[in-house]
């Protein structure tokens, strides 16, 4: 009898755990991931996406990797009186309930030593790694510069 109660409690705990102790990967919702097509001869590009934290705990993106690159780094740009300075960052925070956006001119995934050239329309597999070690596999759509949102928006006036 006690055994039953105990296993019942255990079962409840197991079932309920995703709600109470969601991993970062569970909490973070990915919005519109994309990577920039690379001009010929280049092996460096940048990836962009939005991260929406649906949980009630702050999270941090601490690393990323891709089977199609030798290395992915987290970078940002600082616009210092018109001079653009690119620097690596240790992590990218996403506050509870908030959205952090990686976009041109700011935070980005620096895709380095790209093995297979990025062609517009293709998908680039990327794995995001969060502060608790949880991982999220995403597919970034490769876009030509003419397909970028910013250009599209400006053209659609």
């Amino acid at each position: 009898m006690f055994k039953h109660i105990f296993s019942g409690m255990l079962l409840t705990l197991v079932l309920a755990s995703p709600v109470f102790a969601g991993s970062a990967a569970d909490d973070i919702q990915i919005i519109d991931p994309w990577a920039r097509e690379v001009p010929p001869g280049l092996t460096t590009s940048a990836g962009f996406l939005g991260m929406k934290n649906t949980g009630d705990k702050a999270h941090r993106l601490v690393a990323a990797e891709s089977s199609n690159t030798g290395m992915v780094e987290l970078h940002t740009h600082i616009n210092d009186n018109g001079v653009m300075r690119m620097r690596p960052v240790e992590d990218i925070p996403v506050a509870a309930g908030a959205t952090t956006t990686l976009q041109p001119g700011g935070l980005h995934l620096m895709l380095m030593m790209i093995k297979k050239p990025l062609k517009a329309g293709e998908k680039m597999p990327i794995t995001l790694i969060f502060e608790d070690g949880s991982k999220k596999d995403i597919e970034a759509e490769v876009r030509h510069f003419s397909m970028e949102k910013m250009n599209r928006m400006k053209m659609g006036h």
Binding site: P40, P104, M150
Partner: protein, 196 residues
């Protein structure tokens, strides 16, 4: 950073003043007196000089091909703006990409890179000392920086501005870093209208 901020501030005040002056003065005044001027660079098609393009509006951009975000964003927006020009307008334009990374950007790579953004864009470079003096004359800034904790090796901090040189070879406008196609287009059209 502090060291850089002052000269830049002085420069911006100066540029703003020069711009304001040009609005009130009649006739053709130099908007950036003492700035700009001729140069010769090397490209896959041989030497290119600013003098070769008298009669055309030349659009200059200083950058480097390993630049993963700022350069493609600016050049992408520039390219989109150029595609909105009529063939007649485009015939009066010469875009020129100047690499400030001669160690990594050879002529062939520059040509491929420039053509990717626009078939008419020429990619060119020179020796570092020459580039430094040239950038200074145009008010551009670049500096190689070792990027710690990065396998990038080095990056180049640089100003992201499109310099507009009129048909007489005079620096006439500066379009500050922008991913806005419309803004770039407005600037280009203004220069084309000024000097038909």
């Amino acid at each position: 950073m502090k060291r850089l901020a002052w000269p830049l501030l002085v420069f911006f005040i100066y540029a703003a003043g020069a711009h304001a002056w040009s609005l009130f003065s009649s006739g053709k005044e130099e908007r950036y007196p003492g700035m700009g001027g001729d140069f010769t660079l090397r490209s896959a098609g041989g030497d290119v000089s600013l003098k070769d393009f008298r009669g055309k509006v030349v659009l200059l951009y200083f950058g480097y091909t390993s630049c993963p975000d700022v350069c493609p964003t600016s050049l992408g927006a520039l390219s989109a703006a150029l595609k909105k020009l009529s063939p007649d307008e485009m015939a009066q334009i010469q875009p020129l990409f100047i690499s400030v990374d001669p160690a990594r950007d050879n002529a062939k790579r520059l040509q491929e890179y420039s053509h990717y953004f626009h078939p008419k864009m020429i990619g060119a470079t020179a020796d570092l000392d020459y580039l430094k003096a040239l950038a200074k004359r145009y008010g551009a800034y670049f500096r190689k920086v070792e990027v710690e904790n990065s396998s990038l090796g080095y990056a180049i901090d640089h100003s992201s501005t499109i310099y507009v040189v009129d048909k007489d070879g005079t620096l006439t406008d500066m379009i500050q870093h922008s991913g806005s196609t419309k803004r770039i287009l407005n600037h280009i059209r203004a220069v084309l209208t000024e000097a038909p």
